[in-house]
């Protein structure tokens, strides 16, 4: 394998592992705001117990996100130094903005969210919860802006800097609001809300099956279902606008998503299929002309196909096709699961239908998978470019770093992350099995312990 492949493998592995956690933090963050808001509004202790329980789960996902997130910031420099020199002027400012505007906000108020229950008033605590949630979304804003600029560069010019070409900002807001920022950010946030909502749905359903903490489980399930209803329908719109944006800005990616080869024919929309990249044929079931209809409102308009791109500018087609279609399928399943659950709730049967609750327990995996493979579609579909149309991935590598370096770090990442994942699942499982505290008496047991020592 080449250094490039090792570097890409390491980045893919570390970002995939990292991306398990931030969507959970963003999604749980907004749900915590609702839960604690309900406590403030109703004064019902049950909401306080519920909030404290979910804060503990949130703390765990947040810690995992922080621990694995700092890796990402380093990796641009360690493995992709040439890329960093090329984009630093632009990409770097977005990362710095993430630090100044998101991470400080998030980590500062997190202290109060986790440890401040007895140190600040209820309203201040609620304010801290809101700020943590806002901070987590702000970090999504800046990192998705940075990534979107790689997909659809704007507000820049290319400058010869001492014999090396690099991109420099000409219009900051043009860079921030590049053609794909808004649609990709909203789609990313929608996915994160779903990840958080379905975690709460899953755990609540589990308690209802086990007939434990039923009051909290019912209330939590309702809140999470409403978030899921909003988010899953929101994804329909943001998904559509993302795909329409890709059609305009990254035609090769769109063509790969539907494995559309022939530029003279209208685009079909596959329900599922398998792409034979050598024969340039798809075996599967499609709605003829539907892609053209969705994008141009007319099923007969031809769509630019892969045949119009130079061979070395075509992304891996089948992988892009499969990840894209699976993501869409999961998106529709999540809408279905949410609507059926809400129907059952309306008919008063939700909390007692054990079979359905069991389905909801496992549904927690769906948004996780969709979030991961949605990003695979976006990033693999961008290949062979690291900055679309400007810099190829193979030209972005660090010059001083060898395959051996990367293999060394990749092996360690694999071992450490495997261990971390086991610890994470073990503690998550333990916390869920332990459940919310029956009563919330605030013990200062340091005093007690000291007396018994």
């Amino acid at each position: 394998m080449t250094t490039e492949l090792w570097a890409r493998l390491q980045f893919a592995f570390t970002i995939s592992f990292h991306y398990i956690y931030p969507p959970l933090s963003i999604g749980l963050g907004i749900i915590l705001v609702i839960m604690e808001g309900m406590y403030l509004k109703t004064g019902n202790k049950m909401y306080e117990v519920m909030t404290k329980f979910w804060v503990k789960i949130f703390a765990l996902t947040f810690a995992m996100g922080v621990a694995t997130g700092i890796v990402m910031e380093f990796e641009f420099g360690t493995n992709w130094a040439t890329y960093s020199r090329f984009v630093g002027d632009i990409f770097g400012s977005a990362l710095a903005a993430e630090g100044i505007f998101a991470f400080f906000l998030e980590s500062g108020f997190l202290a109060i969210l986790l440890f401040g229950w007895n140190r600040v008033g209820k309203k201040t605590h609620f304010f801290a919860t809101c700020m943590v949630s806002l901070g987590s979304m702000m970090s999504a804003v800046w990192i998705v802006v940075a990534n979107s600029w790689q997909q659809t560069p704007a507000g820049y010019r290319l400058v010869n800097n001492g014999g090396v070409i690099r991109a420099e900002i000409t219009d900051f807001w043009g860079m921030v609001f590049n053609p794909s920022s808004v649609e990709r950010l909203s789609h990313t946030l929608g996915g994160a809300f779903l990840a958080g909502a379905f975690l709460v749905i899953s755990v609540s359903a589990y308690y209802l099956i086990k007939k434990r903490h039923e009051e909290i489980a019912k209330a939590g399930l309702k809140i999470a279902l409403l978030v899921a209803l909003f988010a899953s329908l929101f994804q329909l719109f943001t998904g559509h606008s993302s795909a329409s944006g890709v059609a305009v800005n990254q035609p090769a990616k769109l063509a790969a998503m539907e494995a559309h080869y022939d530029s003279l024919s209208p685009g079909d929309l596959y329900m599922f299929g398998w792409v034979n990249e050598t024969d340039k044929k798809v075996y599967g079931i499609a709605i003829p002309g539907m892609l053209s209809f969705l994008i141009h409102g007319d099923p007969t308009v031809p769509i630019r196909g892969l045949d119009s791109f130079p061979k070395d500018e075509i992304p891996p087609v089948n992988v892009t096709f499969q990840t894209y279609h699976l993501m869409v399928a999961i998106g529709f399943s999540l809408i279905g699961l949410t609507l059926i659950s809400i129907f059952l709730w309306w008919r008063g049967k939700l909390f007692t239908s054990v079979l359905w609750l069991k389905i909801l327990v496992v549904s927690v995996l769906l948004p996780q998978i969709a979030n991961q493979i949605g990003w695979y579609t976006a990033e693999i579909g961008r290949q062979p470019w690291i900055v679309y149309g400007l810099l190829k991935t193979s030209d972005g590598l660090s010059k001083t770093v060898t395959s051996e370096h990367i293999i060394f770090s990749l092996i360690l990442f694999t071992l450490i992350y495997a261990g971390l994942f086991v610890v994470f699942l073990y503690l998550l499982d333990k916390k869920i099995k332990h459940g919310p505290e029956a009563k919330t008496k605030e013990l200062d047991f340091s005093e007690n312990l000291r007396m018994t020592e």
Binding site: I70, R85, E168
Partner: protein
């Protein structure tokens, strides 16, 4: 060295401030971590852990933001240093991961072996982070083989030279001293007595390392000394640094732990300032030829970007300072454990 206060200089100072902020704030976290295994009882270890519990994560953000700002303002420095120091930076990452996870999970399980394992992970990771930071600083002070192509080729063995290891030890000692002073503010009773002993020993340890490192710098690294010869007014920094260090035992003896903490913070800040004056206007000094030094000019982003970022910093930093101060205010006083503690 002609000194003009342009935007590149401002960014050199700002990034220095972010990293000094990291050294002062996460410095005591790392110091507490390094001292962690010196306590034996589970309760004492929990008090140590919870003394930094609410703040360590925010403190680490100074490093993340410093890194982001370096990427944005001086992309060539970021790219050259991060790819050139590949192995030590990867180890630094692994240790930062271990530290974060140890703090989070250590007390979530009752088992003795579980806690013993994470206690060790926490402490070893904290010491390793301090050492790795110090060794990197040591290499930057000495100068590193950067070629015409702005690339840095260095092996791990070259990095682990005696001078760099000495700076590594000095950093570890400084953080232990700083961490033990922080702990004196956060503990009481028997534990606090024990902590006061640590302050004494770690201060002696630090002074020995620092004096040796200073001698080595004066003898072996003339380019770090030249700026002070050209601008004797900067010698004042060295004097302030000495006063700050000398003030630590004085305040500790009077029981004024907060003032001792301010003194050790000032000592770290002035150390960073001495380091920055010695380097300026370079970020990375090439040991091959001074022509290849990465300076605040040849490694910088465009002026537009530096200006945009300055606007962002002007908006953001007052807020950052406001949160930081209020969080420390909320969690002031001795550590109290409750059912949400680590």
């Amino acid at each position: 060295m002609e000194f003009s206060f342009d935007i590149n200089t401002i960014w050199f100072v700002l990034i220095g401030d972010l990293l000094a902020g990291y050294g002062i704030l996460d410095g005591f976290d790392l110091g507490v971590g390094s001292l962690h295994l010196l306590t034996k009882s589970d309760l004492d270890r929990r008090i140590l852990l919870n003394s930094i519990g609410p703040v360590w994560d925010g403190n680490e953000v100074w490093l993340v933001t410093g890194g982001g700002a370096l990427f944005a303002a001086f992309p060539d420095v970021y790219a050259t240093a991060f790819s050139g120091f590949y192995i030590p930076f990867m180890l630094l990452l692994f240790m930062l991961i271990f530290r974060a996870i140890s703090i989070e999970v250590r007390s979530k399980e009752e088992g003795k072996r579980w806690r013993a394992f994470w206690d060790r992970a926490f402490s070893i990771a904290s010491m390793a982070i301090a050492m790795l930071i110090g060794v990197t600083i040591g290499n930057i002070i000495q100068g590193v083989p950067i070629g015409k192509d702005k690339e840095l080729y260095i092996t791990v063995f070259e990095m682990l030279n005696p001078y760099a290891l000495l700076v590594g030890m000095t950093t570890l000692a400084a953080f232990m001293m700083h961490g033990s002073i922080y702990l004196a503010m956060k503990t009481d009773g028997e534990l606090q007595k024990q902590v006061r002993g640590w302050i004494n020993n770690s201060t002696i340890f630090f002074v020995i390392c620092y004096a040796t490192a200073t001698m080595a710098t004066l003898i072996y690294i003339p380019h770090m000394v030249a700026p002070f010869r050209a601008h004797p007014e900067f010698f004042l920094l060295a004097f302030l640094n000495m006063m700050a260090i000398a003030n630590i035992p004085r305040e500790t003896q009077r029981g004024k732990d907060f003032f001792a903490f301010l003194s050790s913070s000032a000592a770290i800040l002035s150390l960073m300032a001495l380091f920055a004056v010695g380097l300026f206007p370079n970020f990375l000094v090439s040991s091959i030829s001074p022509e290849y030094n990465l300076t605040i000019y040849n490694a910088a982003s465009s002026e537009t970007t530096l200006e945009i970022m300055l606007t962002m910093a002007a908006f953001g930093i007052p807020f950052v300072i406001a949160y930081t101060v209020s969080i420390y205010w909320v969690f002031r006083g001795k550590v109290k454990l409750d059912n949400m503690s680590y």
